[in-house]
Amino acid sequence: MKPTLRSRTLTTAFMFVVAVYVLLPVWWLLVSATKSGGDLFDTPALWFGEINLGTNVGRLMEQDGGVYPRWLINTVIYSVGGAVGATVVSAMAGYALSKYPFRGRGAVFAVIMFAVLIPVPLLGLPLYLLLTQLGLLNTMWGVLLPSMVSPFGVYLARVYADAAVPTDLLEAGRLDGAGELRIFFTVAVRLMAPALVTLFLFQFVAIWNNFFLPMIVLNDEKLWPVTLGLVKWNSLRTGFYRDMVITGAFVSVIPVILAFIGLQRFWKADLAAGSVKV
């Protein structure tokens, strides 16, 4: 059944307004990143002045001894490493909770659900004390390990495994003599792929934007992710650094956009597939 012209027009108009609302700040960022410091307040906020993007990016890469590229690489390490880890851990935990009956399964799941409700900043001090004792303060692992924990991810993986991985199929695998690990990696992971892509993207973006955890853990500027670096520059509050903050923010959103465009194919197709299966 085709929707009527009227409802299609209305929907399109509504989506257009939402799109403008969402994209406007990104547009401002793009436009502002091309301006020299003086032009920022001197030219229309939402249109280009003299294009200085190349100069700005060049300065950005060399500022403070070229520390920005370093921050960017760190962010990539934290985001990719943390998101891959979180996806693997969540997938395994969710699958186990879904497919293996064991004593206390309900309790374990309840505890994990409860963890979803705890605001992250509340964990700052305990985490700091814990990392101090483990000797992980001011190390990359101090950021990576906590990033690999995602209670919501476990929940999502479990719910998805419940719906998308038929227990009969696992039985068939066992009858054919496959070990549990092999069944998990060759059968379950493929069936759970859409949820895992979603999970990876969520966690990737969350770590990419994370400020609190690295702030608590890291002392050394060379280990900082982009978020910490930009906040530091922004707090210096001179015009020179303002240019760097804007350009730096612009450059730092590009990889996220690329990650979404690259993974969106799987995501879209699979979400639809999932909904049909469910």
Partner: protein
């Protein structure tokens, strides 16, 4: 929560001391992760290491300079996030974990918070020999209940940045008092309806505090073992009413502080003065570079020509954190940083810091001519001003909470969305008292 704490957070301090003792007292225990325990190296006769956390540009080089000339006391500087962006949270966490640095950059407005958390060492005895070098009012910002908890580093005496060309063009004299300032505001509006005397930034509590301080306000104080809160005292209300008058007559523009709109106003020449702290010197140069050469600096307008007191905004002392094994060495270094002529002369240049010492005005970098201000030796104006800073102003232990209440209440009033600035101050006073009581602190009536 309801348990009341003594003024200096003694309860918290005791916990910390015992925690630190527990952590530091067992060599080879789990605390090995903590960055170096200076006590042991001192006992062994090797050089003492002082850990130092901060974020001011130039500190790293200062530490290097000290280390080169003081082999017995080595300072290890670590750059942190600026305090309000998480640096303070991290310092307090480190104090609780027992691995805090000996020395840390803690803003004057945040020292009282650290104090009630029990995160500071009393350094009165160690600091005493150095105190004659400092402007007395700067010592008041680090002294609570008669005990000293920090070594002042920099200050932000206020002055008036003004567009010389605009005043000249309309033949208006540069105001020396607040009465003249209001009169100049009227003349300016008459001469050019597009131009206001200034852009008022109601959400900037620290800036307004500077105005109030100048008039003699004392927002926080300590009486016996209770905090005094007087955010709507007579002087503050006088200042609030003064600005309310200018807003009512539409003689000033109103914009949020640090906003694009604010800078655009100044870039476009729509406001003729900016009354602010010395560190605005560079901020203006960078933010509104298009107007270079048209500005000049004059002393802040005063209430009373006979006693020309001025306000101060900002200042980040170095404080010795709880658990420091070598407080004396930490203080020695901190005092050197603030008072050594070569060291501080560099900080003026690299960090944009303004000295707190009695003779700071004579440092070479204080007399640079700045093209943005028509080659005026701007810092000399502020050096003069810093001698006249109203001496009795200090901060309270809940400034972040008070700040957010302030921004909201003042913003509403200044934008004509309810009440006057003076009424807003009464609300802020109430909430400030409540925020102290929420922390379990005693508030004197």
């Amino acid at each position: 929560m309801g348990k009341s704490r003594t003024i200096l957070g003694a309860t918290g301090a005791m916990v910390c001391v015992s925690l630190v003792a527990a952590c530091g007292g067992q060599p080879g225990s789990q605390s090995s992760a903590a960055p170096s325990a200076p006590a042991s190296s001192a006992a062994a006769g090797g050089p003492v290491t002082i850990e130092w956390w901060g974020w001011a540009p130039g500190y790293e080089d200062a530490a290097k300079a000290w280390n080169a000339s003081h082999p017995g006391v080595q300072v290890k500087f670590t750059q942190t996030q600026p305090g309000s962006q998480g640096g303070y949270q991290r310092m307090l966490a480190a104090v609780k974990a027992g691995n805090a640095p000996c020395l840390a950059q803690v803003g004057a407005e945040t020292l009282p918070s650290f104090l009630v958390e029990g995160a500071l060492e009393d350094i009165t005895a160690h600091a005493q020999p150095y105190n004659t070098r400092f402007q007395p009012w700067t010592l008041n910002t680090v002294t609570f209940g008669g005990k000293q908890f920090g070594i002042p580093v920099d200050s932000g005496p206020m002055g008036m940045f003004y567009r010389k060309d605009i005043f000249d063009k309309h033949g208006i004299e540069v105001p020396k008092t607040w009465d003249e300032y209001a009169a100049a505001a009227e003349k300016l509006r008459k001469a050019d309806p597009e131009v206001s005397i200034t852009t008022f930034t109601p959400d900037d509590m620290y800036g307004f505090a500077g105005f109030a301080q100048q008039a003699g306000a004392r927002w926080f104080g300590i009486s016996g073992d209770a905090w005094q809160v007087r955010m709507n005292d007579e002087a503050t209300v006088k200042v609030a009413n003064y600005w309310q008058g200018l807003i009512d007559k539409k003689l000033v523009d109103v914009m949020p502080g640090w906003s694009d709109g604010l800078w655009k106003n100044y870039t476009d020449g729509k406001s003729a003065t900016f009354v602010g702290a010395v560190w605005m010197t560079k901020v203006l140069e960078d933010s509104i570079s298009k107007t270079s050469g048209k500005w000049a600096v004059a002393p802040m307008p005063v209430w009373d020509v006979a006693s020309p007191s001025v306000g101060n905004v900002g200042g980040s002392p170095n404080a010795v954190l709880k658990g420091c094994a070598n407080p004396k060495e930490a203080v020695d270094f901190a005092a050197w940083l603030s008072t050594d002529a070569t060291a501080f002369n560099d900080l003026i240049d690299k960090g944009g810091l303004f000295p707190v010492t009695v003779d700071g005005g004579s440092l070479p970098n204080m007399s640079g001519a700045r093209p943005f201000y028509g080659d005026q030796k701007v810092f000399q104006v502020f050096a003069e001003a810093s001698k006249n800073v109203s001496p009795d102003f200090s901060w309270g232990p809940t400034m972040p909470a008070v700040n957010s209440v302030f921004g909201e209440a003042f913003g509403k009033a200044a934008n004509g969305k309810g009440g006057t600035l003076a009424e807003a101050m009464a609300t802020i006073q109430e909430k400030a008292v409540a925020s102290l009581k929420d922390k379990g602190l005693t508030v004197a009536p």
